[in-house]
């Protein structure tokens, strides 16, 4: 990792930890913010896909589907942004899906790493386990705003701490000589 990247990752980690603590302190007020962030994420993703279509995917066989998806996602983002109140259950399903996917990916990575006797398997397994637990909690406590925000905050806190650790971790740079 380059020094600039380390600095960026470190401050991103600090920011995530700070926001998670803020949300945990005031769960009821945090929910609109969280849904706004989710809407904004969809809008940005839609724009990103449009840029991808016009720079690269328009040359690809079947590339037009990328444009259709981009417009659809952007539209959903706009729709969500103007909703005064997104039902909590959708927010929780979204969170559960994200954590669930990350959990499965982490455990699979850990299993392959273990099979190959790589020492990183324990860390991968731990990441996977934490994410899987978060996914289950999201589904179990899907009716409580307070719990929802606390789960989201703890996920954010965990990701922030991991980023801070990553910023200080030694990584080997490979050069072709």
């Amino acid at each position: 990792m380059t020094i600039i990247k380390r600095i960026r990752v470190f401050f991103a980690g600090i920011f995530m930890v700070a926001v998670s603590l803020l949300y945990a302190a005031a769960p009821t007020e945090a929910l609109p913010d969280i849904t706004a962030v989710l809407s904004l994420a969809l809008l940005l993703y839609g724009v990103k896909m449009m840029v991808f279509y016009f720079t690269l995917a328009r040359h690809m066989t079947g590339g037009l589907a990328v444009l259709f998806r981009a417009v659809l996602i952007f539209d959903i983002g706009l729709f969500a942004f103007y909703l005064p109140d997104v039902p909590l259950i959708y927010v929780m399903i979204y969170l559960a899906a994200i954590h669930g996917f990350a959990g499965i990916a982490g455990v699979l990575k850990a299993l392959e790493a273990k099979r190959l006797e790589a020492p990183s398997w324990k860390l991968n397994f731990f990441h996977g386990l934490v994410n899987a637990i978060m996914a289950v909690l999201c589904l179990v406590f899907s009716k409580s705003i307070r719990t929802a925000v606390l789960i989201y905050s703890s996920g954010l806190f965990y990701s922030g701490v991991i980023r801070i650790i990553q910023a200080f971790r030694k990584t080997a740079s490979i050069y072709v000589q």
Binding site: A57, H59, M60, T61, K109, A118, S120, A172, V176
Partner: protein
């Protein structure tokens, strides 16, 4: 390509080109080791990390999706498995698209010639690496050794061409445990992942193992092909690959004056053509036994099975001073030279997808 071609067929080609049994084993071991020499293995035996010639699935999954990681991936896969056919081919599109398109692999490019020339100065291990790279230019044509959806993606319109030249639909699945089924024409492939730079879009994953099976003849639409169908005749192309390997190794032994693109060994074709075609056409996942039998007939000696630990043990048992003289040491030196050469050529073409490298014996570019 798989072990059957990189190990056993390469042994056969080396013997036909005039190498002794022991030399041929060194060449084919090195050719197969290209598919084994990952960063994980190098760390285990204390080898130089920059000599990695492949990446394990786990390493790819762990690599970050940033420019530095993508350049590392591109250096490895473009240098050893998807050698670009033409770094300057004309194509419509902006710079980002052109850069990716120029890394599409194919046979008889300038870089194949450069690869063989580089091996001329090297060891038997360098010859093995060059043969792996050369053979893969045939098998992996149309795919690029860089993560790219717009180049490496393929839709579901795949058809196998049967012996009576009829189209039979090929279906795909993502169940690793179920594997490939020749009879039902059901093959495994990577899942569609709509992220341009995802490692899921590296190489021929979207076509499954079809490019690696020597018997396979199929039609599909490459992502970059503007909806045109592309016919891939593996038996014919693998045959040309074999012939070109013999030609290249005759040159590397000093038997012929030079190696040029589109040069094939006609003597070999006359003497062994039918036998080789027969092996290549047989519908089987692994042709190792057929190649092994053919190779043992050629040399009259037993071909020992590939053992991944052979290089490792020799390397770790040697004193640090003598490690460079071991088979693995020579392999690492040749791998670094190949990677450096290809990275330089890509960089010289104005394409930064593989990053840049220090020239061996020269300054930093």
């Amino acid at each position: 390509m798989q072990k059957d071609f990189h190990y056993y067929a390469t042994y056969c080609a080396a013997v036909i080109a005039g190498f002794s049994h022991e030399e041929s084993l060194a060449v084919c071991y090195s050719a197969q080791f290209v598919d084994m020499c990952s960063l994980t293995l190098l760390k285990k035996i204390g080898g130089p990390p920059e000599a990695a010639t492949t990446q394990l699935q786990m390493e790819l999954m762990n690599s970050r999706n940033d420019i530095v990681s993508r350049q590392n991936i591109t250096r490895i896969w473009s240098s050893f498995h998807f050698l670009p056919a033409d770094l300057y081919s004309p194509v419509k599109g902006g710079r980002p698209y052109k850069d990716k398109f120029h890394l599409v692999c194919g046979p008889n490019g300038e870089l194949v010639k450069d690869t063989v020339e580089l091996a001329k100065k090297g060891s038997l291990q360098a010859v093995g690496i060059a043969m792996h790279v050369l053979a893969d230019t045939w098998a992996h044509r149309c795919f690029a050794g860089t993560p790219s959806l717009v180049i490496n993606n393929a839709n579901s319109d795949f058809y196998e061409i049967t012996e009576d030249n009829k189209r039979k639909k090929i279906t795909f699945h993502e169940n690793v445990k179920a594997g490939d089924n020749i009879e039902q024409r059901k093959y495994i492939r990577t899942v569609y992942y709509a992220e341009e730079n995802s490692v899921m879009n590296l190489g021929h994953g979207r076509a499954g193992h079809l490019p690696d099976y020597s018997f396979m003849r199929y039609i599909y639409m490459p992502a970059w092909g503007n909806y045109k169908e592309f016919y891939k005749d593996n038996p014919s192309e693998y045959y040309l690959a074999f012939s070109q390997m013999v030609c290249a190794m005759r040159y590397l032994r000093g038997e012929t004056a030079g190696f040029e693109k589109n040069m094939y060994d006609t003597d070999m074709m006359q003497s062994y053509g039918e036998r080789i075609k027969e092996i290549l056409k047989r519908r089987q996942f692994d042709a190792s036994e057929d190649w092994k039998k053919f190779g043992e007939e050629l040399s009259g000696k037993e071909i020992v099975p590939f053992d991944i630990n052979m290089y490792q043990k020799e390397y770790t048992d040697a004193s640090p001073k003598n490690r460079a003289l071991t088979g693995a040491g020579r392999f690492f030196a040749a791998a670094k030279a190949q990677k450096s050469m290809v990275t330089d050529r890509i960089f010289d073409s104005g394409n930064l997808l593989a990053g840049f490298s220090k020239r061996i014996g020269g300054g930093v570019k």
